[in-house]
């Protein structure tokens, strides 16, 4: 689309100078997704790269199906963050799908991971849960669904790298306290409620200390064992 605009503009100038002059006063906004989602930029960055506020998540490069599920959940009030619930309230499924696909297609650079401030023990506990789970407390390994490289699985499971600790613990807390719910059966609700406060702190510290891959690589649909059933990731 974009690429043809200058040509059209040129044609208009050559053929219809009067109309072109008039069209200056009635200039339209760019007919692009980038222009349409400028409303999201103050919190998620112009390319969905996130901002310096640790609580505002990156959107770029996450699986489109996952982003779409989140947009629907915000629109319908199942996932709560009032400024976003308000912005999306009167948008159609089709448009939310386009927005999700747009952010999924972007690849802005990841920020440098913050050097961990937590102790070695905390990080080791986090790594253990992420890779092997905790059989004694029934916690499945996060990698069983989010992938061995934690890059996520298409269509509905997001990667866990490139997120900051405050955001990760905020989301796990949201599931435990019911402000975030995913499509039923909500497997993350079960996982999150098996974790103790210390476990949450440990996985958040470990995950946020890992560098994110330059190119997100989702595991193909259905390729991971998934110890629980998830509504967002139908088989």
């Amino acid at each position: 689309m974009d690429r043809f605009l200058p040509l059209t503009a040129l044609l208009a100038l050559v053929a219809l100078p009067i109309d072109a002059a008039r069209s200056q006063t009635t200039e339209r906004a760019p007919d692009t997704m980038a222009a349409r989602v400028l409303a999201c930029a103050p919190c998620h960055g112009a390319e969905g790269e996130g901002t310096s506020d640790a609580y505002f998540p990156r959107l770029a490069g996450k699986p489109a199906g996952y982003l779409y599920n989140q947009l629907i959940a915000f629109r319908d009030g199942r996932r709560k963050y009032p400024p976003m619930n308000y912005l999306l309230e009167f948008q159609t499924d089709d448009y939310l799908k386009k927005i999700a696909e747009y952010f999924a297609s972007l690849r802005p650079a990841f920020p440098q991971p913050v050097p961990p401030v937590d102790s070695k023990e905390v990080l080791a506990r986090g790594e253990e849960i992420v890779k092997n789970g905790d059989a004694q407390h029934g916690i499945p390994p996060c990698s069983a669904c989010h992938g061995p490289a934690l890059g996520g699985m298409e269509p509905g499971i997001p990667g866990l790298l490139g997120l900051r600790a405050a955001y990760i613990s905020g989301q796990l807390g949201g599931w435990r306290y019911g402000t975030r719910t995913a499509l039923a059966p909500d497997c993350m609700q079960i996982v999150a409620s098996l974790l103790t406060e210390d476990d949450v702190k440990a996985v958040a510290a470990y995950l946020s200390s890992r560098p994110a891959p330059a190119d997100p690589s989702f595991a193909p649909r259905g390729s991971l064992p998934m110890p629980l059933e998830c509504g967002s990731e139908p088989h």
Binding site: A39, C40, A41, P42, G77, P83, Y86, F90, Q91, Y95
Partner: protein, 416 residues
């Protein structure tokens, strides 16, 4: 109609109902059902009678009022929990006179004060349609109102003051189009429910208590549609009003706040003739002279400082979309110069737009709207006040300046 004769009528209806009920077991004509579906859209029944992620028409949506919370009813044809046993007479009585089948009084949050205008034929069509929607077994949630508003007999007082029962009577001196517009705006559209205080019922503060409760709780201001001071529709072309109502965007302004819900759930589904008729009627209401010039309440030296501060913020944060001279990029980015909806005496709307941003509703005429970012985190109260003062007074706009305090108070407004 006096209260005694209404009572008599109720008695008669009750006596007649078994016969009427059996007459209604016959399947209704598909054309009537389709018409009823369309009219239910025009009445926006779905917006109130469907909870978020709830079953269509099963009710349960909380409606916050200054007196507590009302929960809307299940109007699916389920015989136990919905209106499956109602006759078309009983349904008409609800729409027309705001009474339950047992004669009990309905809270005016159900817009019967407007629906009373709906013709019997149209009421029957809506009834026929509602009988065809999937029945849902879901008990009505009891209302949660504070004393004394939990006492339904209080509604009698409201009714005496503000309820005028009566079907729409066309005005023979006006065009058929104008009359159709009048019928839709004052009747099914229940536009006056938000666009008080000067509505067809002559409602005042007390009627707002019930009628407009929605708006004070939401902290949005719906301009009076009958006053030249408030709506700028006098300057709009019919085409622009039609675009605004049906697509949610127009060359003159975009739909935002609670009006977005009306366009999203109701107006976008109406046919071109009906929306045009509404526009013709609305334009008639807003005719006669330019809006009055507001008087400035800040001393001029102070306000000129505020203005230059406001201009610097505008040039930095707003001009890229709304244009250096407020011309916008219509219809995607609305113009602010000459935009009446930001110059009204109440500055609630422009302040909230700056704090919260917004998207016009996604409609079939504008399926992928452009949006405006929220500035609540970026701008301080002083900066919000300055930029809103600037857009209300620059480029020939005639609004009044706003204070940092007004901006601050709206930070806490409920968003959703």
């Amino acid at each position: 109609m006096s209260r005694t004769s209404t009572g008599l009528l109720v008695g008669l209806l009750l006596a007649l109902s078994p016969a009427t009920a059996s007459a209604q077991q016959k399947a209704a004509d598909p054309a009537v059902i389709a018409k009823g579906e369309y009219l239910a859209r025009a009445g926006d029944c779905i917006a109130c009678h469907t909870a978020r992620e709830g079953k269509t028409f099963a009710g349960g949506l909380p409606m916050k009022t200054p007196f507590g919370t009302l929960y809307t009813s299940n109007i699916t044809p389920d015989p136990q929990t919905g209106i499956g046993t109602w006759t078309s007479d009983q349904f008409y009585q609800m729409m027309h006179n705001g009474r339950f089948p047992d004669g009990g009084l309905v809270y005016p949050a159900m817009p019967f004060a407007s629906y009373t205008q709906v013709t019997r034929e149209d009421s029957d069509a809506i009834y026929a349609y509602l009988r065809t929607v999937p029945p849902v077994k879901q008990l009505n949630k009891p209302h949660d109102l504070t004393f004394p508003f939990n006492n339904r007999s209080l509604i009698l007082g409201w009714r005496t003051l503000f309820f005028r029962e009566g079907e729409f009577k066309p005005d023979p001196t006006k065009s058929a189009e104008w009359n159709r517009g009048n019928y839709l705006v004052e009747g099914l559209g229940h536009c006056g429910m938000c666009h008080t205080p000067i509505n067809a019922l002559g409602g005042s503060k007390q009627s707002q208590a019930f009628e407009g409760g929605l708006i004070p709780m939401q902290n949005w201001y719906a301009p009076s549609l009958t006053s030249n001071k408030e709506t700028g529709l006098g300057d709009w072309t019919i085409e622009e009003i039609v675009d605004y109502l049906r697509k949610g965007v127009s060359a003159k302004g975009a739909v935002y706040g609670p009006m977005a819900e009306v366009v999203y759930n109701s107006l976008q589904y109406l046919n071109d003739d009906d929306v045009r008729a509404m526009a013709v009627y609305l334009k008639g209401l807003a005719q006669g002279g330019a809006p009055e010039k507001a008087s400035t309440s800040l001393p001029s030296a102070e306000s000129s400082l505020l203005l230059s501060f406001g201009k610097s913020i505008y040039d930095r944060d707003c001009a890229s979309c709304h244009g250096a001279t407020g011309q916008g990029m219509p219809p995607d980015y609305p113009p602010l110069a000459g935009n009446q909806s930001i110059q009204m005496v109440s500055a609630v709307n422009p302040i909230r737009m700056v704090l919260n941003g917004g998207y016009p509703p996604g409609t079939s005429g504008n399926p992928m709207p452009h949006g405006m970012p929220p500035f609540a985190q970026k701008l301080s109260d002083d900066e919000v006040a300055a930029v809103v003062t600037y857009i209300r007074t620059a480029w020939g706009n005639r609004g009044e300046p706003v204070s940092a305090r007004q901006a601050n108070e709206l930070r806490a407004a409920t968003l959703n």
